[in-house]
Symmetry: C2
DNA sequence: CAACTTGTAACTACAATGATTACAGGTAAT
DNA sequence: ATTACCTGTAATCATTGTAGTTACAAGTTG
């Protein structure tokens, strides 16, 4: 009775973060899958989306992926859009074909749509203001705390 | 490959708006279904959720529903939560069991979670600032424009 | 050539959605 | 009290997205 936005998004962030932190090593789909804890084919599928969106560089036959842009130039919104978790401007679905013979039926869609866009926009703006660089820094921050214990 | 938040949300808003605009009439599930253009049982199911959340008054055997609160006291966030479209604080799903032997794996969840909460919070805040009263007014506004043409 | 990789397709199990039918149980008017 | 209507709810169904798995073609490197 309840849905969630696909974990492809969080996995996408994980992948990009790990590619950066492992930049001196080789980030193959198997390596990444080992950290995410899933199947390499799942990772390759998501990598394909990230590649298509111009976020990473990967080549058939050649092991490993690299970031295609600067760390600070990749926002979570970029990842969010790349992994196709939500239809463009359709985070909320509006019920189709309301009755045009009813005052509410013939106007509700036009009333609701901008409200939904606004809510969706607020969400996306937050994602736009966080970069993979921020994530990498925070992972290191958390790691320091972890080690101290 | 893409998901949306259930239309139960938009239908819930439609229902509440129509109950208000039709307050001098009887808003039975069949009547409401006629405006939304769906099955009465679907409406009754959503009405059950709205009732459970204290937004409307309905009684078994008695035709029609009424708002249980003042128009201006029902926000879209109330409706959103009432119709159970999203797990609480889980709009985004995070991939489970990342590898604890990897710097990224053991920290990424704690890094990502607050970011997701923040994005979700921004979305909910927008919904919280719109009431059914606003929706009703806008429907009438749109209706006026419609008639003018 | 051999051993590795990426890129995909095909298939699976599972869950949410939205519609539909059916019916138990409540209410009200004649 | 019988009839006619309503709400509440369960069961079923087709469709779709998710996430994992296996398999393999095609590219690359030593």
């Amino acid at each position: 009775m309840k849905m969630s936005i696909s974990s492809r998004f969080s996995v996408g962030i994980h992948i990009l973060t790990l590619i950066e932190i492992n930049k001196d090593g080789v980030s193959s789909s198997e390596y990444l899958a080992g950290s995410v804890n899933t199947n390499p084919a799942v990772i390759r599928k998501i990598m394909g989306m990230l590649k298509k969106a111009g976020l990473i560089k990967v080549q058939p036959g050649i092991a490993g992926a690299e970031l295609a842009k600067d760390l600070s130039d990749i926002t979570l919104l970029d990842v969010y859009k790349a992994v196709n978790v939500v239809k463009d401007n359709e985070l909320f679905s509006i019920h189709e074909n309301p009755n045009p013979d009813c005052t509410v039926g013939r106007n509700i869609q036009n009333t609701i749509e901008p409200l939904f866009f606004s809510a969706q926009g607020a969400l996306e703006k937050v994602l736009e203001n966080v970069t993979i660089e921020d994530v990498v820094k925070d992972v290191f921050e958390k790691e320091k705390l972890h080690v101290k214990r």
